[in-house]
Amino acid sequence: MYHILCFSRIKNIYVEQIKEDLLSSTCYLKDNLKEIMITVTVELPDLEIKKAEGKIKNRGRFEDIKKTVFDGIIGKRIGPGIFRIIKESVKTDESQIQMMLEECCRGIILSFTKEDLLNSPRPEDDEEAIKYYAEMVKKNVRLLNRCAAFSEGSRIIEYAKVHEK
């Protein structure tokens, strides 16, 4: 019984550019008990959710998740407040659907973060990188206290404080 997995889960999220102005974000889950797939289609540049659909395996066969489940998020934009909108408007017995919709939206956001990182002049040198991120915090105060890297005690914040004066 010990040292053998009694439960496994994989979750895969992928974002694809399906048209010049359309992105699709898919979240697939498979574990010992469930198999679910959710896809959200988002229109650029507003990141407006145009379509959401999903399938859930029931007794060995995939069945479509009722379209009405997603009604509350259609037309909404992936931006501030989207996770709250999902939480409040997507009501189903299957709690994973909410979580997977969040993952789809997070995937979209991270796909842009990736692009930004690829295009940014991030220094490889540690000290230079501290300076670079300190400047970023100064320009975008919302980053402050957002995580351990941008909180009190971090070299990035210390550097930003010293050079603010």
Partner: protein
């Protein structure tokens, strides 16, 4: 075109009766990290957490590992526990660690029912089955034959010679043994010589590998090779007026409980195999107690007679179990008559040591 991908893998293992280790890995185009969380199963509280970055962005991201300790003590039963993780771990440590932790917690909450079921099964397994409650030891005054004995080199898997096996059988007080080497039948003359030499009852049989499992066969002269169709074997045995016993029909389930795979004696009794055999070996020395008891239950349902044999491949195994006959057996014909007349039962002779 693929723009971004994130994969998460969660594995849960039980490390103590009341404790699990949840291992989570998150790997995407930007970040890569893992956590190991120990959680108490009864109160669903985090006992310890260990996290590690593999790939990150800023030079200060590694600080996030330090603040993961804030998750110790979190109770998964709390209302809005995922919100709490997002708020407290996400902000003090890192939102990607928080994301992975939530996935770990959600997996455990999903798995909990399954884990409870496994605990129930485990407890059931831990109940000691006493084979002596089902099978009896046999009074020494009965005629005791070990109906299932292998010898080397006739059976390449055996360790001891026929001479060694016979000497051991005599020493421990059996009245006779049956040589049942795999797909091999001893020549009548050789066995007669051995009988005379040792002044001991030695009978001939064979263990034939069929498409329905191993079958102990008595009363035939034909040697089989490879995997034999049970129908073909049955035809041959009927022609020779022989006898077929299903040997250890449920051996091999040692790693899983019969119930956990849904096999009940009633269901097992419906197997095609049992239409062809004359008896079932319900005491086999190389099969565990629960499997022997299961076989006995199947035989009871089918009203088939039962035999016992050690399936000895070496001297130390001879006579663990035997078949107890009501009458003295002197030769192969006596054996087959007794088997057909159902005047016997399986018994514990030497038992397991």
């Amino acid at each position: 075109m693929l723009k971004f991908m994130r994969n998460k893998i969660i594995g849960i293992e039980k490390i103590r009766p009341d404790e699990v280790l949840v291992h989570g890995i998150l790997d995407d185009d930007i970040y890569s990290l893992e956590v190991k969380v120990r959680i108490n199963l009864s109160d669903l509280r985090v006992i310890s957490i260990d996290g590690k970055w593999k790939r990150w962005t800023t030079p200060e991201c590694p600080r996030a590992e330090i603040f993961l300790k804030d998750a110790v003590g979190i109770c998964l039963k709390e209302k809005d526990v995922y919100e709490k993780v997002r708020r407290e771990i996400g902000k003090r440590s890192c939102r990607h660690f928080a994301n992975l932790l939530i996935e770990c917690f959600d997996s455990l909450l999903s798995a909990k029912e399954k884990l409870s079921e496994q605990t129930r099964l485990q407890r059931k397994e831990e109940v000691e089955i006493d084979i002596r409650d089902v099978f009896q030891e046999c009074p020494r005054e009965n005629f005791l034959i070990d109906l299932h004995v292998h010898t080397y080199p006739a059976s390449s898997c055996a360790r001891n010679s026929v001479e060694q096996q016979i000497e051991e059988a005599k020493k421990i007080g059996l009245n006779g043994i049956c040589l049942t080497d795999h797909n091999f039948i001893w020549e009548r003359e050789s066995v007669e010589r051995l009988k005379e030499k040792h002044d001991f009852l030695i009978l001939r049989g064979t263990e034939v590998t069929t498409d329905q499992g191993d079958i102990l066969v008595f009363g035939i002269e034909k040697r089989f090779s490879g995997i034999v169709s049970i129908k073909e074997l049955k035809d041959e045995v009927e022609k020779s007026d022989g006898f077929m016993i299903s040997a250890h029909p449920f051996r091999g389930f040692i790693i899983s409980d019969f119930e956990s795979i849904g096999l009940t004696p009633e269901r097992a009794a419906k197997r095609d195999l049992f239409r062809y055999v004359d008896a079932i070996e319900s005491l086999n020395g190389r099969v565990n107690d629960s499997e022997n008891i299961f076989t006995h239950r199947v035989a009871e349902i089918l009203h088939l007679p039962e035999t016992g044999g050690s399936d000895a491949h070496e001297t130390s195994e001879i006579g663990i179990y035997a078949t107890c006959f009501e009458e003295k057996i002197e030769d192969e014909r006596d054996l087959i008559d007794a088997l057909k007349n159902r005047r016997y039962r399986p018994c514990i002779f030497r038992g397991r040591r």
